[in-house]
Structure formats: C-alpha cells, structure tokens
Symmetry: D2
Subunit: 401 residues, 4 copies
C-alpha cells in the first residue's frame, strides 16, 4: 500500500485536494451507519444550516451532493437551464475551459468571453453583451470565482453591479471551488444564484462532496428547467428535505461527520479569520516569488488569488521538472502547469487548513528545487521575504492566548 513511502510527512501544496486537519481525519475514522436512523437526519439538518454560513447566505438552499466539483457544476447548470439556453462564460484558464466544455456538451448555447490566461474575466465585454441583450436571451452568467490554473480571482461584486446596471435578469452561477471558505465570498450580498464548492478544497475534507447552494431565484428557475437529470436533480433533495429524511440516496456517513468537524474548526477560528489567514499566506508566497525574481502568472494585483499562486519559470526551465523533482527528492507536492501554461508555470496551493511554518517549509523546498534545475536563486531569499511579512502579521493562536 505504502509503496510511495518517503521519510517524514508529505508536503501537500497542490491547490486541492488539500491537507485534512487531524481533527477531521479523526472524525471520519468510523464505521458506516444506517442513514435512515434518526441520527443522520438530525446531523444533516444542522449541517445544512451551518453550511450556509460559509456561503454567507441566509436565503440560499444548500445541497450536499455525493460528487466532485465537476458534478457540482453539472448540478448548477442542469437544474437552472434548459438545452439551447444562452449562457455567458469566461475562458481564462483550464478550469473555466472545462466548465465551458461541460456547458457546451450539456447542450447550452455558450457565449464565450476569452481572456489571456493570467488575466481575469473581461467584464467590459460582459457589460456590452448585457447592454445589447434587451431581449434577455442570456439566461445565465457563468463565472469561476477563482481560476485555479492561473491563480486569478474574479470580481464578483462587479459582475452583480453590471447586471444591476442593465437590470438584466440573468442568473449568476459561480464556480467557487477554490474560493469558498478561503476567499471573501458573499452569496446574498452579491446576488449569486448558484454557488458551489467541493469538499477537498478550502473545507479541507476528502474529495466526494459537492456543495451547491441555490438562491430562491435559482430554485424558481429549477422548476421549469428542461435539462434531463436525476442524480443531480434538486427536486429529489427538496422532496426529502420536506420529509425530514434529507437523503434521496445514500450519503457518505464519514463525510457528514467530517463536514461537521471541518465546520467546527472553521467556526472556532472564525470564517473571517480563515479568510485573513489565506490572504496572509498568499501575500507571503507572492513576496517570496518576487524575492526569487520570478513572475506571478497573474498579470494584475487586482486578480491575485489568495488560494493558489502560479509561478512563471524562465523559458529555459520546464516547470513540470520542478514538480517532478520536488516530489521525488523533498516529498513536496506542487501543482503542474495545465494546458496553455503547461511547462511554463508551477503552482503553489496555499488553501485550506494550513499555517505559516508549513508554507515556509514548502517555500524552502521550492527554493532548493529551483536551484536543482539551474535557476540562480539565493537560498533563503523567498523564505526570508515571506517570514518578514509573517513575523509582523501573524496573530497569536486564539485558544492559546
């Protein structure tokens, strides 16, 4: 089983799946249970209430679906749209690309707004398209909050504003896979209609739970959607919500208890503190990249992602070699460059249940690998730059004051 053994811990810095806290691993270390006993509905009921908090919604309806982010996407689309419906979607990296591919294959009429990889969604084009769409043929604006492939965060508040400016009724569907619970996300305030994430990202759980949250307007839209779906159909969930048994099919008992533990940790730290911690770790990472003399794939500061940093390597280096060596020599797992940026960037995921010293260990590892592959780096430079920031900004651990 453990044929991949290396001494000491694996340093997991891919942008998902991320490190699971010990408390959550413990909570999931358990046998199955009958999900039809009174215990599981009671647990579920509270989870559904609590999970709304990470979306910052009071009016949304959450669904805990035994699937991945890809399934969560499909759930968002097939419940709110009908084949042929026009959507606007922004192609800015590999994950927005995959979502657009899904939208097309599910039969929607996707109006793709493309940007260079490393840039955010082009919201000016969104504005002009909405302005032109007086007939309201656009049914939904689909946008990735944080593009994991390039480390680009889009401005959702502005998306809302543009729709409001044009009084356009299109739904806003948000892929929050690598943002929710890590970046500032406000479902109600920003009028997001469907938001979704996956358990293995900022929630720091294993893969296997797609969490989708629907606004009242999205629920209304779902009543007339003509997309074929059963597994992802919200109606089945809603029927069981009404009955108080909650589950149209068998949930993972372990993930339910794991989610309970994960939320407990997040609430203990405080969601806003969690978000601040992500900003702190990301800032440190960016300072390290700067100290190394390398470039962030993200072209402007307004798009900087606090959950993942894509680092551009010099042309004479193949970035996958960095990832390969990090794993083989230092037990460090970094993210590959994908598709258009394959070979050109490597990625440092800094999301989930993580702290300063873990990240500094990662940065030290990146430095050694950069030197291994021939980049003229001063060892300790990035760690020092990040440390200087952390030393001034890291708060005392609340429970230990």
């Amino acid at each position: 089983m453990d044929y991949v053994y290396g001494p000491g811990r694996n340093h997991l810095f891919v942008p998902g799946p991320v490190n699971i806290p010990d408390q959550v691993i413990r909570a999931m270390n358990r046998n199955n249970e009958d999900y039809r006993s009174p215990a599981i509905p009671a647990l579920t009921k509270i989870l559904l209430e609590d999970v709304k908090k990470i979306f910052k919604t009071t009016t949304g309806t959450p669904f805990l679906i035994p699937t991945t982010g890809t399934g969560a996407w499909e759930s968002a689309l097939t419940n709110t749209l009908s084949p042929g419906d026009r959507t606007i979607s922004f192609m800015i990296g590999q994950f927005s690309l995959l979502w657009i591919d899904q939208q097309q294959r599910l039969g929607f009429n996707v109006d793709v707004v493309e940007s260079e990889w490393g840039q955010g969604a082009n919201l000016d084009i969104l504005a002009s398209k909405l302005a032109a769409d007086t007939a309201h043929t656009i049914k939904a604006v689909c946008i990735v909050h944080n593009e994991t492939a390039t480390g680009v965060t889009n401005n959702l508040a502005r998306v809302r504003k543009i729709l409001d400016d044009y009084r356009h009724p299109a739904l806003i569907l948000v892929d929050g896979v690598s943002s929710i619970c890590a970046l500032d996300f406000r479902m109600d305030e920003w009028g997001v209609d469907v938001a979704l994430t996956g358990s293995q990202k900022a929630l720091s759980l294993p893969t296997g739970m797609g969490i989708v949250c629907a606004s009242p307007k999205a629920l209304e839209a779902s009543k007339t959607s003509k997309s074929y779906k059963v597994f992802f159909d919200w109606k089945d969930y809603l029927k069981f919500y009404q009955m108080g048994t909650y589950w149209p099919y068998t949930p993972s008992i372990q993930l339910l208890y794991g989610l309970r533990a994960a939320l407990d940790l997040i609430f203990e730290e405080g969601l806003d503190n969690v978000i601040a911690r992500h900003n702190r770790l990301a800032t440190g990472t960016r300072l390290a990249v700067e100290a190394w003399g390398l470039k962030n794939c993200t072209q402007k500061e307004e798009w900087f992602s606090d959950t993942v940093t894509a680092v551009v390597v010099p042309p004479y280096i193949e970035s996958s070699e960095i990832v390969r060596r990090a794993w083989k020599r230092y037990n460090l797992s970094l993210g590959l460059g994908l598709n258009k940026v394959a070979g050109k960037v490597f990625r440092i995921g800094h999301l989930g249940n993580l702290n300063e010293l873990q990240l500094l260990g990662c940065l030290a590892g990146v430095e050694m690998v950069l030197k291994d592959v021939g980049y003229p780096i001063k060892l300790g430079s990035g760690v020092g730059a990040a440390s200087a920031y952390f030393q001034n900004t890291t708060p005392l651990i609340a429970s230990r004051i």
Copy 2:
C-alpha cells in the same frame, strides 16, 4: 458529535451501507494526496485490473466514479442509450421502481414489466416482448440482480438465454448494487453489458464510489449515445486511461486506498468463499425466520436473496415499530419496509464483511424486539435454528488452521 451514543457497538444490519472491516477503516485513515503524482495512477491501474475480478470479467472496462448507486445507474443508461430509446425494465420493488423512474426522467421509453413485490422479474413476458420485437426497437433490458427492498434475486443467466434464444441484440444493463461481490455474478459468462455496484454494499466501504463495468459492446454503444452527460461520460475516463493518468476529475484518495484494502480482504478470503459465506448467513437467517413462524417476503425459493431478507410481520404489527425499537433499545439497525411493503416487512441485511456471531447477535435482537411488540415468539428459537445450520457448515478460518 456522538449524541447518538449507546453503550457497546452498533449492530448494523441494514442492507447498506454495511459494516466496514477494521482493516479498511485503517487504510482510509489518511490525509489527502496529490492525485496527479505518479503514486495514484500506479494505484489506480492495479485497482482497475483487480476490480474486474469481482465482476468476473476479463473483457469489461471498469469505471470508478465518485458517486452513489443512483449515479452509477445514470452512468450506465446515459452512456449506452439515447433519449427516446426503448428499454424493458422490471418493476418488482422499490429499487427497480426508482431505476425505472430514472429511466423515464432521462427520456427513455420504458416498457415496464411489473410483478407483485416479493416475486422476481417476469421473464416470460420478457421472452414474449423480445419475440415480438423483430425490428429490434428494444435497445436495452434493464434488470436489478437483487431487489434490495424485497430480497428477491433475479436469474440473470436466464435473461441471457432468452436474448440468445431470440438472437436479440439488446444490451443487458444490470443493477448489481446489492449483489456483486456477494452473490454469484458472472459478467462475461452471462453476457452482461453494463454491471454496476456501489462501494457501501458488499465491498464494505463507505458510500461514495459507484463502480460501473462496461462490456466491449456497451463501449461500442457509448460512441453513438446521444444522451447529454459530462460528469458521467465514459469518454472522459477513457481519454485519461489512454494518457495513463486515469482521472478526469479528483478521486477520493481515501476510497482508493480503501478499495485496495477491501479487495485484498476479498481475495484473501477468496471471492467464491465470500459468496459461500453470504449463502451460509442467508440460509441461517431464513431458518430463523421459519423458526419464528414468520414469512419471507420473497415468494419462492428460487428468488431467495443471500444479501437481504425481508421478513413479513403479522398484520397487527407495524414493522417500522420493530426497526424503531431495535435501534432505541438494542442499538440494532434493521431495514425498514419501503413503499408498497412499508409497515409490512422489516429487513435484515446480511451482506458485506460479516460473520456468524454478528448475525446471531442480530437475530437474538430481532427476537427480543418481536417479543417487545407483542409477537408470541419463543426466545432463542431463531438463533437456535440458525446456529444448528452454522454449526454444521462454518469452515475454520483459513488463516488460523
């Protein structure tokens, strides 16, 4: 978290999710890993080979999908059929009913063959329908191998024979959720085109992995299927199989290691010994039911299920009261009667990683609950009947001889 605490172990005898062996719980007790490192594809490659053995296929192509049985159904249907396609489907209990409902909602033209609940699929009608279908409008025969709601096992070998008799090219799609890895199932020999199960059943894992296996003929059919799907699309898997990276989206690291451990246990015991053990435990259960003077919901011996027994209670007893009391007083989880047989039957699941004494503890519990609700039972009678059978048939544990 453990607000449902009761002293001692929970006795889990619902027909899924079932007891997870300690070895598997241990194997899953782990942090996430980068699924793009060399380790996970290496693990996956062997799993895909090994999982074929539980289907008894050498020509099939397995898919390990992060979903439940319901999703596995959807995968089987949407990859092989197009909206409007005619299927034959047998309504014999709650799970065949739900599958039929799914087939209809996904846009197929379902020809439903209904039987009384407690009876097997009416294969004579299948024969006559195939005989009449010289134009081969029937694209697939959809059949539940083991109907979990009533404890009825269908004769798949005969389904094959009937199709062969009429040289009918329809695909055979089999729901093996509560059969595969517990009942005698032979994908290649019986010419099954798609077979599927869920991790939380006989494999004795947590919920979260739908395992679907496709014959070459099913793969061929998938090339022309016009059903909309992305998450469940086999093509995405096949593309990644070719690349040797295996995963179109993030798998559950824990379930992969868990599956490895589960298969190791099954192979150590021997699949045929596992099947024989299920028959032994089921026979003991049926002897107990007989000793109690109660009736098996399954009307004929040829349909007796070796994974679940639905027990008919006298009319003056509400069967859900039995389930409720078992859980509240004896920490025993039994299966409810569902839909048409709600209130009329309770179910004893005897599948997965289970042994004689666990089952005898369950049977003793059922006896006490039956007495609690006023059924005139002789305490110890069922246990004694089952014990007499076990005492003559239980082999020595192989590793301890």
Copy 3:
C-alpha cells in the same frame, strides 16, 4: 500485519483487554504532542479530578502511571510498605496468587489466607488474625476485589467492617483491576487506602495506564516507606502535581486523550448505569450457563462476579479446546482456565463497553463450540434464557428516547 484475518469482527470476550469503543479509538488516533506545553497539563488536571469519580472518592489522590496492572500493584505496595512488613493476602485464584508472589518477592512478610478456587476470600480468618494482632504487626490487608481467574467478587464493605470492629490500623490495598468502573466500588465509604485498576479493563482503553488512587492515610504511609522505587514513586508525581506540570516522565499522549473520551462516555451513560449494565449482562450470562446445564466456577451467589464468568466444563472436555475452537472457527475470543483451573473452566469476560446483542452473539458462539466439542447442548437455550432476562430489563438508550 493482518495475517490473522477472519471475515467480520473479532468477538472479544476475554476479561481484558476488552473492546475499545469507537469514540475512544478515534480520540487516540493522533500524533504525539509536547507534554510540556500548556495543553497537556491542562488536560491532565481535569483528568485527575474526573478519574476520582470512578473510584468514588473525593479525598483520594490518583496517579496515572504508564504501566500495567502488575505495575499498579507494585506501586501500591512499594509506596506504602517497607521490606519485612507483614501483610495479609488472600489466595483465591491466579491473580491473587500473582499478587502474593509479587508481595513476597518485594520482600514483604505475607500472611497468606487460602481458599478453594471458586470461593471468596475467607474473611473469618481475617477477623481472627486481626483479633490476634493486638500489636498491630499487620501493616496492610491486600485483597483482590474481583478475582478474574474464577469470577469471584469479594465483599470489601465487610473487610472494612472487620478492621473497624477490631480498630485495626492496617491499610486496605485493593486490586480493582477487573472491578473498578464495572462493579460497585466505593473507595471513601469503604475506607480503602489504595485502589488500582488498569486502562484495558472496564475503562475500555488499550493497555498501558495503571491507575492507582491513594487515600490520605496511604499518602501519609508513603512518607516513611523504605521500599526502593523510583519509577513507581508517588513522591515524584506529587512534586510535579505541585508544580502544575504533572508528569515526572513522558506520558502517552494518546492514552490521555483516550482516557478523556472513555470518561466522557462513562459519565454520559452514568457510572451507576454502567454498573447496572454490567450486572444485567452478567445475570444474562449466568442464566445461559444454567440453561446449558453447566456450573459456574464461583461457588456461591454472594461471590458472583459481574465482570467475568468462569464456566466449569464436564470432565470429558478440555476447556482450552473450547477456547481454541471458538477463535479458529467463530472469531470468538474466550478466556482460558488458568493454573489450578486450567482445562477445567473457560471464561466469558463481560466487562467494559459492551451491550446485550454483542453478548448474545458470544453466547450463541459458545453454544456452537460446546456442541462442536461434544457437549449435548440445545442450541439457542442459553441465548433464549439470557434474552428473556434482557428483554425485561434492558432500558432504552438514553440519548435515543
């Protein structure tokens, strides 16, 4: 590692180590921690308060020693006595024999009061010895509360009374290894001076923590004890208690968190309910033995143990054969007969975190094994007898009402 694999759970019915509840296994599933950080002393402080409750003492001082029951014995003796000191000790089974052996080897002058195995301590002889000892040469009365080898419980209240009757100042040292937290034990009320148990018994933890509780009188005695000891020396603990750091050497972090979880479960159930449950399970076991037509090794009801039952087998059966077969065929672990009763009895441990159906599964297993070895048993008879008792006496699980 798991070369001893058998399908399903092991049924662990030796009188220790006993089944660990899942909640405790989870709590112990963790990495090491620095025991000198503020966290571990804070945890320890509360544990020391809470552990007194299972001794029913408010004046006692507990020590959580990284050792076994044998070490706990040594701690009790070497801290309160000096070489050459006279003790009275009762030889009634293998564990009292071993304790006496220890007392002799540690240099004490042991006055052994022997009873037939299966009988309790002869307290009449105690009375006469105390009566004769007007010079108070007897420094301690050493008594096993529950002799695990024979299933005999001694009457500690009467020991106290006899000492009081003769106004004898001897200390009472009690081996409560298989009693405390399962049988009625009252340290303060009965004036016990040192009481001890091991983590792997009724507390349902792994082996590794000897829990010793000393009365003020015992602490006073420890100041003048001349026995050589360092590891077991209470003075080192007391010094660290004063400093608030608690640990003279490294504790097991896992066992501390495990003890916390174990106590939480005991307090949730209620200690008196735990004791009542032990009595219920023991009564059921004894009714089964009676139904089988076999004899309890314990000769009188007043000595019946609620934590272990030693069952006498007919002369033509070798009891170790029963234990051997139970393990090899039914994955059932029973206790061997030890020393004088080797081959003549087998033992059913019914202590710790256990419930009715677990025990009934065990009893069903014993029945089959008895038949296997040629004893003319009616299968189901013992289970039926125990069930009849349980069905009338088992309360609803408190958290599920």
Copy 4:
C-alpha cells in the same frame, strides 16, 4: 478535547515524543485483541527478532516493557545490580542527572563523574578510576549515549576500549533513549551490556514501550542480582519466552502493531540511511545556528548530537520565552532548557521520522521567534544555510526513483 486548536499542523520539534508517521498511526488505529491467542505471540516472536537489528546485536535479548525510559533505566539497573553495588555514572546534563538520582535512590553506590553541561562524559577520569579499581569494586559503568538536555553524544567505542585496556569486567549500561535508531549504535561491537530506548523517541511511536536489550553477560549478572523487582524482572519475561507465550502481563496490542509498522518503515528506508538522514538534518540545523550567530550548547564538535541541538541564547533573552512564543504564535513546539541551562538554551529536536522541509519550516519559525524576542536576526539566513547543505546532500526518495 481540541481546545488547543490552531490552524494547520503542529510543528513538533521537541526531542521526544516525536512525530509519528501516518503509517504507524494507521497501524495503531485498532481495537484490543486477546494477547493469549496464537496471533500475538506470533507477532511478538518476530518483533523480538527484528528489534535486535536496531541495537545491532545478534546475541542480545530484548525486552519490550510497558513503561517509559525511566522504567527502562530501572529495569537495566535492578536486573544487573544489587543494592550497595558501585557504579560509575557521568553527570553531564538533566537526563544523566535523573538517571544518577535513580541509581542512588535504588540503593547503589554511585561514583559520579561530573562535567560542565555542554561537555561529554569525562572518559579520562573513567580511565583513572578503572585503573585504580584493581579489586573490581566497580560493577557497572552507566552512561547516557546522547544527553538530550544539552545535545551531547558520548563516545561509547572509547568507553569499551578503556574497559578493555584495563581488562575491567564492569558492565556497560547505556541509556540510548535519544540515540538508538538515530545515531550510530553498535551493541555487539562495542560490548554494551544493557542498552535501552523508549518508543516515543527515534522509533517514532507513542510513549509506552521501554525497549531494553541485555547481553549474555548482563543476563548472567541478572541471575545473582539482589535488587527487589517484580514488574521489571527479566526472569518473568524469560520464563514466558521459553513457553512461547512471551508476556508475563498484558502488553499494549496497539504498540505491538505500531512497532511492527515502525520497524517496517525503518527497514524500508534502511537503518544506515535513517542514521545518515539524522546526520544530514542535524548538520543543517547546526549550520543554521551558526548563520544566526548563535552558539551550540555542545562545546566541541566531537560531541555534537545528531538528534537534538541545544541553542544558547544571548543573556538578555529568556529562552523559555522563545519556546512559549513559538507555540502560541506559530504552532511550533520546541524544547525548553532544563535545570542548569533553564532560560539559557532552547532545544530543537531533529529525530525520528522527519524530513528536510519539515525541519526548514521549524527553522523558519525559530527565526521569526528570535526576531519576535528582539534578537537581531536576518530572516532566512539559517534556512538558507541549511538549504544549501540539503540541496547538495539530500538523496532521491528511494521508492520514487
């Protein structure tokens, strides 16, 4: 339970208890078992063979005692010596001090050879004492291989040579608590008579197993030792070794399986590679200390410890403040200065299952804390110095080449 929660992992760099590898945590995540079944003796038999390898002995007899290092000390002493026996013992730090205290309290006549803390054992004085002891009144030389309080490693080969030079028959008793399985240790080659370690040190297990290994000469000495002992008496173990049941009292099932897993990891990496890794990590640490402009408490390179580094802080800093802040702000656990060096040093433990990036994370944390307390450090300097060394010396992970 988790009231000490802080985000991300705890960085455990005390010199014991150390980080437990996930593989070992998994192996220990289990229920109790009957230790008298055939399985546990079979497991024990192999463990006893395998554990000899970490002592580099073929002639030694190991004992796996449910105790701590302090208990292992007591076992070594009380089995080989009698009260009044003369020992030579070296006082060079807190742990040698505690061992000397134990020797005195157990009644031995200890001839203490004192060195300044930060120096190794004064072997010249040993030589002169042995030279003078023509009557062979010295029964044992007791020496700590690695003094954990100061990070000083003694030269055991020279101890052997001195004894040989004077043909002195004294036993060599070695405290290998923070050395065995991490430093070069050769029981047979160096003629060590008793060597001992604790599970929570380089073996990377929880606390609770004292591992003591006795040479044939030590076993011979144990036959005539007059020290009182029962729990620690080797004779009881030897009796059970002969019977093939191995355990005079109940072992921790979890620690046995844990030891199996720990040894598997050590053998997979290769013991000499483990030792080389400890040297590499220690060298990196020392280079960092140098880069910070701080002094190693160890006064000469010949004594440098590869398992722990005690760092001397400037007089204007209280070292415990460093430890306190590291834990409160960065979730970093460092070792306090003890006794004579309290307030003057803090310690970095770099032993057990650990790798380069974990250590670099720790070093980065130390840098920030040093700055926090006002030491004029250049952030990144130590990390850079250690990285430069690691980048040149870290081998590829064997299983990943």
